[in-house]
Symmetry: C2
Subunit: 210 residues, 2 copies
C-alpha cells in the first residue's frame, strides 16, 4: 500500500523512538524526562506508558534500532563487492557513513553514551546484539588479512579502526566544510593503512626470525 509512505501513518511507536533518540542524544537519557519526551511528540506524560512499559524499555529499543539501521547499510555495501579487499574498503567507508547519517546518528550516539543506564537484563540483551555485529565485521577483516594473524591481533586492529570511527560521533559536525563522502574516503584510507602497516611490521619480524 502506498499509504504506508505518508508521514501521518508512521506508527506512533516509531515517532516516539525517533524523538527519544534525538532528545537522549542532546540531553542524555537521565536528563530527559518522560514529560520532555511526551511533550515533544504532542502527548501527555501518562500516555507514553500505553506504548512502552518503562522508560528503560524505550532506551533499549533506541539502541537496538541504531544497531539494526547501521548493520543493514554496512551489510548491503559489503554484499555489493566481489573481492576481500574491496569488501574491507566498502566496510570502512559504509560504516562511517552509516554512523554519521541523519537516520542513524542519534540512535548510535545514545548507544555509545547511555549504556550504563540500562538495567542488567536489557544491558545483556543489547550487548549481545552488539557483539553479534562486531563478530561479523571482524570476519571481513580476517578474510582480507594474511592467514597468520591471531584472533587477538585481529581484535586489536578492529578495536583501533572501529574506535577511530565511533569517536567521530563526538566531533562530527554535519554543517562542516567536508562532505560525508570525503570524510569516509579519508577515514577508509587511514583505516586500511593501519591494517596494512601492521602487515609490514609482521613481515619485518618474520625476516628477523630467519
Amino acid at each position: 500500500m502506498v499509504e504506508a509512505e505518508t508521514p501521518e501513518l508512521v506508527p506512533q511507536r516509531e515517532v516516539i523512538l525517533r524523538t527519544a533518540a534525538r532528545l537522549f542524544r542532546e540531553k542524555g537519557y537521565e536528563r530527559t524526562t518522560v514529560r520532555d519526551l511526551a511533550n515533544a511528540v504532542g502527548l501527555q506524560s501518562g500516555s507514553l506508558f500505553h506504548h512502552f512499559a518503562t522508560k528503560t524499555e524505550i532506551l533499549a529499543e533506541v539502541m537496538k534500532r541504531g544497531l539494526d539501521l547501521a548493520s543493514e547499510q554496512v551489510a548491503d555495501a559489503i554484499a555489493a563487492e566481489s573481492t576481500p579487499d574491496a569488501r574491507l574498503k566498502a566496510m570502512f567507508r559504509s560504516y562511517l557513513k552509516a554512523l554519521l547519517s541523519p537516520e542513524c546518528r542519534d540512535y548510535m550516539t545514545v548507544l555509545l553514551y547511555d549504556f550504563r543506564s540500562l538495567p542488567p537484563d536489557l544491558a545483556r540483551e543489547v550487548h549481545g546484539y552488539r557483539t553479534t555485529q562486531e563478530n561479523r565485521w571482524r570476519a571481513v577483516l580476517r578474510e582480507s588479512l594474511s592467514d597468520d594473524w591471531s584472533d587477538a591481533e585481529i581484535r586489536l586492529v578492529s578495536q583501533f579502526v572501529f574506535g577511530a570511527m565511533c569517536w567521530s560521533l563526538q566531533w562530527y559536525n554535519p554543517s562542516g566544510t567536508a562532505t560525508l563522502d570525503e570524510l569516509a574516503e579519508q577515514f577508509m584510507q587511514m583505516a586500511m593503512s593501519a591494517c596494512r602497516v601492521n602487515d609490514c611490521t609482521r613481515e619485518e619480524a618474520a625476516k628477523d626470525r630467519t
Copy 2:
C-alpha cells in the same frame, strides 16, 4: 615535609574527588547520588557541601583533574625525546598509557561520558581546558609531518588516531592478557602508519599531478 606522603594527610577534598571519579565512571554521574558519594568517603550527605558548592562543581573538578594528570605524563614523555619523529612516537605511546593508567582512567572516562551533565558555564571552562591540550598534541603532529599538510588535514589525522586511543576506555580490561606496554606499542605503530600512509597517498597524488 615527609608527612605529605602519608595517606592520612591527603586532603579530604582529594579523597572526595578520587572517590567521585570512581563512582561516576561505574554508575554514571546522574545515577550517582550525593548520598552514595558521601557514604563512600564516610560522611553524611550534607557534609559534602562544606567542600563543594554543588554536585556539578565536583563533576567539573573531576574532569579537569583527569586532563591535568594525562597531559602531565604526555608532556614529560615528549620532553624526553630529541627528534620530531621520536616525540610523535612518545606522544602516542604515553597518551594511551596515561589514559588507561589506574591514576587517570576513572577521571578520563567521566570526561568522556558525562560531558552533557555540565551546566553551560562549566562546560565552557572544561571545553577550553580540553582544546588547549588538543592543540598542543596537534603541534607535535605538525612538527613531524611534511610541511604541505593543511590544518584541516592535521585535524583529521589527529581525530582519527586520538579517537582510536580514547575509545580504548570503552573496552580496555586491566586484567586482560596483554600488558599496557604491549598495547601502547601496538597502538603507537598503527597510529604512526595511519599518519605515514597518508603521506604515501599524498606522494602518489603529487606524482599524478606531474
